[in-house]
Amino acid sequence: MNKASLTELTAFELHGLLKNGDISADEVSAAFLSEIKNKQTATNAFITVCEGAADAVNGTLAGLPYAAKDNISTKGIRTTCASRILSDYVPVYDATVIENLRGSGARLLGKLNMDEFAMGSTSETSYFGAVRNPWDVGRSAGGSSGGAAAAVAAGMVPFALGSDTGGSIRQPSSFCGVTGIKPTYGAVSRYGLIAYGSSLDQIGPVARDARSCALALSAMAGEDLRDGTSEKCEITVPAEGVSIKGKRIALPKEAFADALSAGVRECVLGAVKTLEGLGAVVEWVRLPMLEYAVAAYYIIASAEAASNLSRYDGIRYGVSVLDKSLNLDEVIVRNRSEGFGREVKRRLMLGNFALSAGYYDAYYNKALRVKALLAQDFARVFADFDFIIMPTAPGAAPKLGESLDDPLAMYLSDAYTVPINLAGLPALSMPCGLMDGMPVGAQLIGKRFADSDILAAAAAYQDATDFHMKKPSAGATEVNV
């Protein structure tokens, strides 16, 4: 088997070959490291590459290489959150997912580019430059886990860890034509995930297909004594010939309204047809609170971000001015003003506004009430249905530079993903077609802790289709190099 073809296999397929001893772990790592070198300039998917990190042991993922978004704490390996303020921060401890994956034999090949502190929908707010979409390097890879989706799409790693606070795994997966799951809130430990919105953040895998995601997630998920919001959760890898016959799928009317581009509508409804063909029962439903989700989400996420990011003052860690004549306030303000980019500042301001005296009830508390109603909406639908299906994003990947000047327009483009985080549900994005040559994803949403069920449904869909196997043309990543 030659090196080039190794990097085209799914993580699940590689896992089978490694387990049978058909290929060696070193061979696999070498193939992917070489692909990282080839594609890094074009994609800018990585912030740090860890060559030769090889402490493979026996385990469920033995020998499988991966990379992690750069907001996941890795002991001894720089972890920047794609921010200037953490650009030289080297953690002294590993996140629980990193420990879990090491324990199962996976090999960390590097840290992935992202929007600064995971705030953004295009991976353009990174201090280390924008991630470029392997399908068209003039376009965004999506965000904030743009590096994770781009790296998988470009064959630089068989799977990657992203984080998803309001769509940050699913939307880039949709834009890059890969499969990515945001697990149920509490399914994967957040210990070591550098917090953006603590009540919304989840770490999840991105890979080519649902089986690979399930394989990776099975090694990551579960209760962690260090995370008081984590819970017991077992993930099953979908069996061969898995079926969705008789499963009930809900289609929310509100999600197929005007804001949706015709191309995406066509792709997603096509996927619905396929699922019906596989024996699923599909019905239209109403989710009236959906239209308030973006407003509530940006209040809650920004408020939590303002709180979580107040610790970055450059004193205990992080980049700092060293001028001894400056007093504490001057140092803190300077470090933060120079250390954070514009989008981060915008959200810190929004969050502190929503929490400040006199506005807390009208904004923050009201948003928490909307969240309660939204969760009720979903619970009502899930009393009758197994899954909800809707688009992941209203369109395909935008051109680089198009999105940053109008923050509100960017926030509104998250309308299909943020409600899921507010309700703490599991959801995945799976490729379901192309629009003007760019991938489009369908979003499959499940009940709390039904992560294995949505992965099984996606696997059934992918067994019947080949959208997830479509790859960017080899030439695409060499343009503009």
Partner: protein, 95 residues
């Protein structure tokens, strides 16, 4: 909600951020646009709904009172911009 430069400057101070004059104008416009959108929630009469701060069902996730090893002092200090052998050095609190 009326967002003006004064409010923006006040929120920037709370956030530990200094904005230059031009940034202050841009930020005021951005906040006005986004907070204006958030004000769509005003249409909802939901004061009787209890705010939901946590989605998880699990409560009382406590730990036993047992001492676990701390990290080496070197690790505590390693990332600090200024430090001695024993302490993190912080800028003067006043003056």
């Amino acid at each position: 909600m009326e967002i003006n430069r004064e409010l923006t400057a006040h929120i920037a101070a709370l956030s530990g951020i200094r904005l230059a004059e031009a940034e202050l104008d841009q930020m005021t416009r951005d906040l006005r646009s986004v907070i204006g959108y958030m004000d769509t929630l005003e249409a909802l009469d939901i004061a009787s709904v209890a705010p939901m701060s946590h989605v998880q069902e699990r409560v009382n996730y406590t730990r036993e009172d047992a001492v676990r090893p701390s990290i080496p002092r070197g690790d505590v200090l390693v990332n600090a911009a200024r430090k001695t052998d024993e302490y993190v050095v912080t800028p003067k609190t006043f003056g």
